[in-house]
């Protein structure tokens, strides 16, 4: 009597709102307690109106139609995020289910993440239930998009269920269809227990809470359990289900989704993808796990106040407990001091991590511009990975990072990560999109018409070209109608160079960037110009140079400051003048000194913040 399903869709097509209606119809959340996107619990999710973490909830549903009418089923529903940075959350959720509700906005039609998530669900062998949402919208075109949807999944347009998550129309029917269409989990209730960990979070009060889907057997309260990857044994302090608040249970049985608490303090001891079994008479074969998500972009994060370094480390440790995709290791920058090189799934992920660090841990941070990971092969056959521009061979000296000082031999080849990008857009904009992709070193893989007016374009593009402002560009070229999805597909050799920025002859490591040779010049010129505006005049002239190795490609000059004195100093000005001096001295503490040049933090922040316009998520 169990049905496990997840809700998948393109960003904003209404997954969380549809989940709200299900929570209400099944009576697990009462009207009074209801709030929009109930399952988006984090402040940052609520503020941005997006889902970042998947949420699993158990819903009791007494079917109102069909064969099972009158019978009560246990539905385990998982609401998933839609943004491309969090695709791995979707994959994990899919592995805990037999069915997927594929939601499409009836006013927008199929978009890039619709396809991406559809393929993920097909790969995971799930039964698909196509749903058109937002049919209440005046602009909805259910006929047209039902046909589009039927066309891509190969079903009949009449099978597409039409709902409005806003008004609730059609949702009861959908719940009945889930009961009817999704098959109950098949597992061996009598076999040694095996449960798949699909999420693991750290809770200040309860320690690590591990979310599992039981495949075989059952897990009971007070039982001792074993993590199959490490063999570590833990006492089970609590098992339960999410309904939608955590609710204790005696056991969770075959096919069920629930949580367990063992008292471990570190999520790494309860790893996503691991298999949980009983410590006695346990299973011998683990379930196939998940691929751990690899960071796509790296950036340095530094506390503005150097004294905050230990606090930043603690905060990153804490965030990592709930965010397995976040990587970090210490690094030192000549310009920015002590900080961390952090790996992120994408720019939205980076933005969210940074915002959480600043808000939840009260830190002021500065980040370097993000870069992809490069692989460098040297002529002597050695090879290494570059996650920080200062490790890139052939720099112009100056301050170098703590680890991996750039090697001196000759480079044989540099490889950069490439992605397979899918763009869906009205066909009117094909020309403009192609121009954009070509400008970003993309190569066209293919193009398909989803309908007469809508087209899907597939490209291979270097990650570094797509991850920054590509999405904004796409949106503006398609009047907001274009959507983008991408997934890593490997690497390709590329003609990359490191551009260094020198102030008064000193390389400022924080401004070094790895760029394609063709864009090196424009990068150098624009950053040098920007810095000229941002660096206050000093007592001496400060040249700003951009260089590839020892070759200068751009030069600007900050002229020497000639006047820094207040003309008047009457009796009444003295107190004010002293206070101004105290403020200026305070400000000087916030200056970083590069060689002899004093650079205000604000200049770093301003110069770095526009290094790439982060994709805003929608």
């Amino acid at each position: 009597m169990i049905r496990n399903f997840c809700i998948i869709a393109h960003i904003d097509h209404g997954k969380s709102t549809l989940a709200d209606r299900m929570l209400q119809l099944t009576g697990v959340v009462e009207g009074r307690q209801m709030r929009e996107q109930y399952l988006d619990r984090m402040d940052i999710e609520r503020e941005r109106g997006i889902t970042i973490k998947s949420q699993a909830v158990r819903l009791p549903w007494t079917a109102t139609a069909g064969e099972g009418a009158g019978q009560t089923y246990v539905l385990n529903m998982i609401d998933t995020p839609g943004h491309v940075d969090f695709t791995y959350e979707v994959s994990r959720s899919l592995a805990a289910c037999e069915g997927a509700v594929l939601v499409v906005d009836a006013a927008q039609g199929i978009e890039a993440q619709t396809l991406a998530n559809l393929y993920l669900a097909i790969d995971a062998d799930l039964h698909l239930i196509p749903v058109l949402n937002k049919i209440d919208l005046p602009g909805a075109q259910p006929e047209k998009y039902a046909a589009e949807l039927a066309h891509i999944i190969g079903c009949d347009a009449g099978d597409v269920i039409r709902v409005s998550a806003k008004t609730g129309e059609g949702v009861e029917h959908l719940l009945n269809e889930i009961v009817a269409q999704v098959s109950p989990p098949v597992g061996d209730a009598d076999a040694p227990s095996r449960a798949m960990i699909f999420d693991s979070i750290y809770d200040t009060y309860r320690g690590v809470v591990t979310y599992v889907r039981v495949i075989d057997g059952k897990l009971s309260h007070r039982e001792r359990i074993k993590m199959m990857s490490t063999g570590a044994v833990h006492e089970m302090l609590e098992v339960g289900v999410i309904a939608p608040e955590p609710t204790k249970a005696q056991e969770i049985g075959v096919g069920e989704v629930g949580y367990l608490i063992t008292g471990v303090k570190d999520v790494r001891q309860s790893r996503v993808g691991d298999t949980v079994t009983s410590s006695v008479n346990g299973a011998t074969h683990a379930l196939p796990g998940y691929r751990h998500p690899n960071p796509m972009v790296y950036a340095g994060l530094y506390p503005i106040d150097g004294d905050d370094y230990p606090a930043l480390r603690d905060a990153l440790d804490r965030l990592q407990l709930n965010d397995a995709a976040l990587m970090f290791e210490p690094e030192t920058s000549g310009a920015l001091g002590f900080g961390f090189r952090c790996g992120f799934l994408g720019l939205l992920h980076m933005e969210i991590v940074r915002e959480r660090l600043e808000r939840e841990f009260d830190l002021d941070l500065i980040s370097t511009s993000p870069n992809a990971v490069y692989r460098v092969e040297m002529e002597d056959g050695t090879e290494f990975e570059v996650t920080n521009p200062s490790e890139f061979p052939g720099g112009s000296g100056g301050s170098s990072p703590q680890k991996g000082t750039s090697p001196t031999g000759k480079v044989a080849a540099v490889y950069e990560p490439v992605v397979h990008a899918t763009i869906i857009s009205p066909s009117d904009y094909i020309g403009s999109i192609m121009e954009l992709c070509q400008g970003r070193r993309g190569s066209l893989l293919g193009m398909d018409y989803l309908s007469a007016e809508r087209v899907e374009l597939r490209y291979t593009v270097p990650l570094a070209e797509i991850v920054f402002d590509f999405f904004d560009q796409l949106k503006s070229r398609t009047k907001g109608y274009g959507s983008l999805d991408y997934e890593p597909t490997g690497e390709e050799p590329a003609d990359l160079v490191k551009v260094d920025i020198m102030l008064h002859g000193e390389t400022v490591d924080a401004f070094s960037a790895i760029v394609h040779r063709d864009s090196a010049y424009s990068y150098g010129v624009s950053l040098a110009r920007k810095l000229k505006e941002l660096i206050p005049r000093q007592q001496f002239e400060v040249p700003i140079q951009a260089a590839i190795g020892s070759r200068i490609i751009a030069r600007e000059t900050v002229r020497a400051m000639r006047k820094d004195v207040l003309a008047k100093c009457y009796g009444g000005d003295i107190t004010r003048k002293r206070k101004l001096l105290e403020r200026q001295k305070e400000g000087k503490k916030r200056m970083k000194t590069v060689g002899r040049v004093e650079v205000p933090q604000e200049a770093f922040i301003a110069a770095l913040s526009t290094g790439g316009t982060p994709e805003k998520g929608k």
Binding site: M561, K563, L566, K568, C569, Y570, T575, R578, K585
Partner: protein, 408 residues
């Protein structure tokens, strides 16, 4: 709009000073400042604590005619607070605003009280600021008779379009005339205030103003770079783009020109913005400010300093008069300076003077910074060898940066 007063500690109702401030009173030079907060019109660049008749309205407490009574009341209070040891005044300075809007009788009344309560040192310097517009030959004679010894005229510029931008109403021709009248009236010390860097002022305009000023043979000149004070009409015009903001390079060029031209015609700098024909022509009152002397500032918004305590009065003439009518101290707030703050002030004030700062005031890092600044051409090498930090012409333009470098 007058600028806001600094915040500080609460000042006691009776104005009483801590014992520490009073000890040594009389061993330091002592001055009196009278703030006269009235002007006929407000100049667009000015954020001084001054009010036009229409701004004051008909609040009886704030009236120009009763102003001197409140000031006299404060002088009585000052005498009480400073006690029997209060020294005779070395200097008295009437500043504004436009002090010459007071009647001769008001000057007499105030100066009489000064003589009665404090007495005047034998060769006391008694200065008043004056606008070329609001003064004539007769009134200059009357001022001299009242005992005033020194006049400082607000000339600002000799170029009509510059004066217009500054909202100054006087005819440039009037400046040589008032200078002659002042000398005829018996003033040995006459100073002119100039402003450079006004939007639209060319290098040649500035040269014209300097020459015109020198042609009237003042024994003292103050030249200030135009400061766009927040909240002023000038600031608003700059923000709207009607006027260009003063440019630091232009100001630096004009300062250098001033130093050259004034020097060539016999006026030597003795403070960043002040030049005098001889040491005796320096403004002794301002020197008290710059060398940590004591002074009592009477009048609305006036600042005082006695023995390491600074305080400042409430700004509005009505509030000021009301306080004194209740026999209360008009002080709005005060601060008691600790040793480190006093040291900081010494550095920032004394470094501005041609006599410079003794290196003994600096800590070892400060002395090293002084050597660096000498290297950079901002301090005089010869003076450094004598143990003093004295700014070069280039250094005077960077004085604030040098101060920051010399202090920890």
């Amino acid at each position: 709009m007058p600028s806001a007063l600094p915040e500080g500690d609460p000042a006691p109702r009776d104005g009483v000073l801590p014992e520490s401030a009073l000890s040594g009173l009389g061993s330091r030079r002592f001055g009196l400042y009278m703030h006269v907060p009235f002007c006929v019109v407000r100049c667009g660049y000015c954020d001084f604590n001054t009010y036009t008749a229409s701004e004051l309205g008909d609040d009886p407490g704030a009236s120009r005619t009763s102003y001197h009574r409140a000031v006299i009341h404060e002088l009585n209070l000052a005498r009480k607070v400073l006690g029997a040891d209060a020294p005779p005044a070395d200097t008295v300075f009437f500043g504004g605003g436009t002090p010459t809007l007071l009647t001769p009788e008001q000057f007499d009344a105030v100066l009489t009280v000064v003589r009665d309560e404090f007495g005047l040192a034998p060769d006391a310097e008694i200065t008043t600021e004056a606008n070329p517009d609001s003064i004539g030959a007769d009134s200059l004679r009357r001022l001299r008779d009242s005992g005033i010894t020194r006049i400082s005229f607000g000339m600002q510029s000799a170029v009509p379009h510059v004066l217009a931008t500054l909202d100054r109403t006087h005819d440039p021709e009037r400046v040589p005339r008032v200078m002659d009248w002042a000398r005829e009236a018996g003033f040995d010390h006459v100073s002119l205030d100039l402003i450079y860097g006004t939007p639209g002022e060319s290098m040649a305009d500035w040269r014209t103003s300097l020459d015109a000023a020198l042609d009237t043979r003042p024994d003292h000149i103050s030249a200030y770079s135009l400061i766009v004070e927040p909240g002023t009409a000038l600031a608003q015009r700059v923000r709207r783009g009607e006027l260009a903001a003063p440019d630091d390079d232009d100001l630096a060029d004009k300062y250098q020109l001033a130093d050259e031209v004034l020097g060539a015609r016999g006026l030597a700098w003795y403070e960043v913005s002040n030049w005098a024909r001889a040491p005796a022509a320096r403004c002794r009152h301002n020197e008290i400010y710059w060398t940590g002397g004591d002074w009592w500032g009477a009048g609305p918004g006036a600042h005082s300093h006695v023995g390491g305590v600074r305080w400042w009065n409430v700004k509005h003439p009505a509030a000021y008069a009301a306080r004194l009518a209740e026999d209360r101290s008009p002080a709005y707030a005060r601060e008691i300076l600790d040793d480190e703050v006093r040291r900081m002030e010494r550095v920032l004030l004394e470094l501005r003077l041609s006599d410079g700062l003794s290196l003994s005031v600096l800590d070892p890092a400060g002395v090293r910074a002084a050597a660096r600044q000498t290297e950079a051409g901002n301090l005089e090498p010869a003076a450094l060898d004598r143990g003093r930090a004295v700014l070069t012409c280039r250094g005077r333009l960077l004085a604030d940066a040098v101060v920051r470098d010399l202090l920890p």
